[in-house]
Symmetry: C2
Subunit: 637 residues, 2 copies
């Protein structure tokens, strides 16, 4: 705990990576306008004007405020790096709408102001009321960081003070906590910027109170009873685990397994880890680490989470079905947030940065099309005969704006600052970073990476002569033969180097296609492998393999024979020239069960699929197996 790192301000990083400049361009000029258009069309954008009247069609939904807030937050992140008057005008319009929607006492919530004004705080277990507050606070914080104006943060802090007066264990307060976690992490982020202890205390209360069974009952039941409902209330998905759907079955330190709704769980654990770091609470850190381990056992090979669609959440350990998997884009985003908090706590444990890198390049990025305008909500690792395509929007539209704000804030994941002032390079994404050292010296780190398609990078320190910076260079995900020129070998996971101004370091590592084998309990994928290269998990898409009638009939040759090809053409429309993999495979004839002629299968990075029309896809692919010759006398089913 003594060595906990800290975040860096977004404005001090400028991303230069060709790959990421393009991805961010797609978000900025594809997603943000597309989401705005959809919000205008559906009535979301203007709902904060509070014009809706009972009896009118299209009443505001419980989560609309959060949709606006996430878009606003994303917009502010992009404005932090690039001036854009049109976007800035829309951001300020949204800010004005939120300000105008605030009630006398500080309350801000469209739904409970115009649709059910008498029901405020009566259903926090299912209503998303505190969740909306959290997203509004995050948006206000992003707005403050970009504008240095308190125009939105001031009203939000007033709202938070009001929430703090409503919730708590004192006489006359409600002993409740968010039904959908989010506010907790927003409070802690804001505390780190403002230093206002009341925010820390409110977050601490929410986290400690969650899952308590008081003599007077579980808060969700007390609340349901007050509404005249049964003690298992709300729109609980069929068969969803009671309380643990909300991670509220027991207090945090007694929970051994991550269960229930994945996004709720990840936002919650992000806040738990953040609180543990800020308070140096060892038992809370132990709880976060326990649940990190549990999360890893339930994580898909792409960093996706959620194997059970019924409750958009977790199943048993290593139960990771392909076609029926849920893998909500937002859950992967939540995992990045959680992993990032763990990385701040334990910067020398590469596991956390590995998961950030994995989820970001795969489970998150697959949620948005290459042009930024279409989205996946759930991301199963295989489809059969569905000929899937992405959607322009969803009724519950959390994912599109959530991807936008994560990619908008990408800079802060690249670098973190260790407790000794060292710059930790977590992601090898070409960028510059203005380092403000404790001695007041300004230096600039220039990271030039060959990634993501090629290994190797160079780090240069520019600045006043004599200035020194300690740098932690991590071995990135999927890197082979990691070595820093001139540096003595560090541990397997990276090296620490002292850099002086105006010097450079060359970092050598290679990306080669590698096979990932399923865990022994992941028996849905027994006899299959996933193919990866660098940070990317690859898949076979039907559109690339018209000679394969059914992707399930493929048998990759063992040992894998693979050729790497830079594809200049297929995705040129979107400026991406990926390394695609041509692998040798056999095809099994579905009728005769005979292994047919050898063929080559084209694999592309998962995040690139479903951009060229309706298609099917498969990540885990069967391998030929010397122990399983095809015998025609076998009974087959």
């Amino acid at each position: 705990m003594a060595s906990a790192s800290c975040s860096i301000p977004l404005s001090r990083v400028k991303i230069t990576s060709e790959f990421w400049v393009d991805r961010r361009h797609a978000i900025r000029h594809g997603s943000l306008p597309a989401i705005y258009e959809q919000m205008k069309l559906t009535g979301r954008w203007d709902c904060l004007k509070l014009k809706w009247k009972p009896g009118e069609p299209n009443p505001p939904h419980r989560f609309w405020d959060s949709d606006i807030a996430k878009w606003l937050e994303a917009g502010c992140y992009f404005l932090s790096s690039d001036c854009d008057h049109q976007l800035a005008d829309l951001v300020e319009e949204a800010v004005s709408n939120i300000r105008r929607a605030q009630q006398e006492d500080g309350y801000i919530n469209t739904y409970y102001t115009v649709v059910e004004p008498s029901k405020r705080w009566t259903n926090i277990s299912w209503s998303h009321e505190l969740y909306d507050a959290g997203h509004l606070l995050e948006a206000a914080l992003a707005h403050y960081e970009y504008t240095h104006s308190m125009r939105l943060l001031d009203p939000l802090l007033k709202y938070i003070r009001y929430i703090g007066s409503v919730f708590g264990l004192a006489e006359g307060q409600k002993a409740g906590y968010p039904g959908h976690q989010e506010l907790e992490l927003a409070l802690l982020k804001t505390y780190e910027v403002t230093g206002d202890k009341a925010l820390l205390e409110l977050a601490n209360y929410f986290i400690e109170e969650r899952g308590q069974h008081r003599p007077e009952g579980h808060y969700f039941d007390i609340e349901a009873e007050a509404r005249g409902e049964s003690p298992t209330p709300g729109p609980a998905p069929r068969d969803a685990p009671r309380y643990s759907y909300h991670q509220a079955d027991r207090p945090i330190r007694e929970i051994r397994e991550v269960e229930g709704h994945s996004v709720r769980a990840m936002y919650w654990l992000t806040a738990v880890a953040s609180l543990a770091r800020l308070t140096k609470d060892k038992s809370l850190l132990a709880a976060a680490e326990t649940l990190w381990g549990s999360t890893k056992r339930k994580m898909y090979v792409t960093g996706g989470l959620g194997s059970v669609p019924a409750w958009e959440g977790f199943g048993p350990d290593y139960y990771l079905p392909n076609e029926t998997g849920y893998l909500e884009t937002c859950a992967a985003i939540g995992l990045v947030l959680f992993a990032y908090q763990m990385l701040l706590i334990s910067p020398y444990n590469n596991d956390y940065a590995d998961v950030v890198e994995l989820a970001l390049h795969n489970a998150v990025l697959v949620g948005v099309s290459l042009d930024g305008k279409r989205f996946f909500y759930d991301n199963p690792l295989a489809t059969i005969g569905k000929h899937t395509e992405r959607s322009t929007f969803f009724e519950v539209s959390c994912c599109p704006a959530n991807v936008s704000r994560l990619i908008g804030s990408l800079g802060k994941y690249i670098y973190t600052i260790g407790s000794d002032g060292a710059v930790h390079v977590n992601l090898y994404i070409s960028s510059t970073f203005d380092i403000k050292q404790s001695n007041g010296q300004h230096t600039r780190m220039i990271l030039e990476s060959n990634g993501p398609w090629k290994g190797g990078a160079k780090v240069t320190l520019a600045g006043e002569a004599g200035s020194e910076v300690r740098v932690r260079l991590r071995r990135p995900l999927g890197a082979e033969s990691f070595r820093v020129e001139g540096a003595s070998q560090g541990d397997y996971d990276g090296v620490d180097v002292e850099m002086t101004a105006n010097s450079s370091l060359t970092i050598h590592f290679a990306y080669n296609a590698r096979l990932i084998y399923p865990h022994p309990l992941n028996i849905d994928n027994r006899g299959c492998v996933a193919v990866a290269r660098g940070p990317f998990i690859y898949c076979a898409e039907t559109i690339d393999n018209p000679h394969v009638a059914d992707l399930r009939s493929v048998r990759l040759s063992q040992p894998l024979e693979v050729t790497e090809v830079i594809d200049e053409d297929s995705f040129s429309e979107w400026g991406v020239k990926p390394v695609v993999l041509m692998v040798l495979a056999s095809l099994v004839h579905p009728e005769t069960h005979q292994v047919q002629e050898k063929t080559r299968l084209r694999l592309i990075p998962l995040f690139m699929w479903a951009n060229r029309g309706r298609s099917d896809m498969r990540v885990w692919l069967p391998v030929t197996n010397p122990g399983e010759t095809t015998r025609s006398d076998r009974v087959m089913k």
Copy 2:
């Protein structure tokens, strides 16, 4: 088609098999009273008294009539073989209730008489109105066959005449057909008993009209528009395929693949095959055979159907996931009905009787507990950490009474009569069968089987000297070394023998444990096998294997080392002494991935699981694989 067989009257078969006498006893004295009790408690039993008034709680549901009808039908089947005054009184009470519920014009339907009286025939795509009629008709037919009284059949025939006046292509008629198929098969069954051509014609109309897109539109859309609803109306499950959920996307002869809701599909294909047999329509038979092939490609190893819970139905070919599979008990019952119709058409194609035998002993029987009092609605082939137990009833309670009526009518599946008068032995279930020959001679066939736990059987023909009966002795499912003593060898699937009165034939065959390998496209089960013996598919249940922490960590030894044990104790409470299988296996340590010490795994027939408390279960079990040694340097997920 020339060689089509026919059914036999239930009253002429008496089942003597110890195994099946026990199972039928559990249904008769466990299920029927339990279902009756639940129907009384929930208001179903008395709903036909039409006492419910608008505004009162607990309104009758759309499908309640069918619940009563199926129970009534089952009761009549049991009364056909055994006198039972108490059951007979309840049967007559139900008959009286149905008679009293009939309206002036012949109409019988609780829901549309008391709940929505103005909505009759406005929503046949989703309302179960014609489905209820079908079950009532089947009940009436069973009642007639048991009592030889028309007390229920007469009112039902009046109702059918009324339905025939409402539906059709004539001016003023509705060009509709059942949203949930059932009435079609009931009409054809009744036609076979009464010879009333109007029933055949109405069934023919429903089958031919289904899926037509008339110039004025698809009937489901016309109906929805008349209700003021959108053209994709009703409680359609999310993502359910439009029209094909109901098998109504195209006319029967144009459909190449069985899709949508499994129970609907099986009832429909039962009627299609039945109509093809009765009309000798070759193109209709070809359609039935095409869809039989499609059904087989979507059938689980147990005879279960339905891999997609969202629409309780079919997914792509060979997509047969375990934990998320639906395998509704009613769908397996429907498969038995469909296979039986195909068996009547092509009695020398063993495939059909094989599927009857498979589904009956596995996918159907697993739906009811050994004491007959608890039920499964869906029957996935594996559970993890759910510690499943059976339910006493369901809100939608089609399965319990459906199992009861199938087991009640078991006798008719054992024997069928070929077009040449030959007796076909389809199932080796000990029983006697009174044969009425065309020359008026009476003979009795006595079938003494060692099954289901042991192979081998004996057939004796008793009767007047000189009488002769041709007998087709089929090779039963899972039988090895099938041979009939004294008979010259027939084809692989069975032999035909001429038997004279007062002679016996000994039929030799052996049951040994056998392995079933997954189809190459069934890659969820790659590297796994299912273990079977005789008609039974086996499973590992956690309660039998406390030394195995997780059934997914099991690796069966190859070649399989298996010991057969007669278990005298575990199930003695229910009178079953099964052959259980002890198989040699290794366990993989989930952390180290090392194969640990050899152990023995206890396997029981699938239908016996979940009778001894909460448990988990798995049918497909991983095998050790010489080509896949455990390597610790592999990346696992």
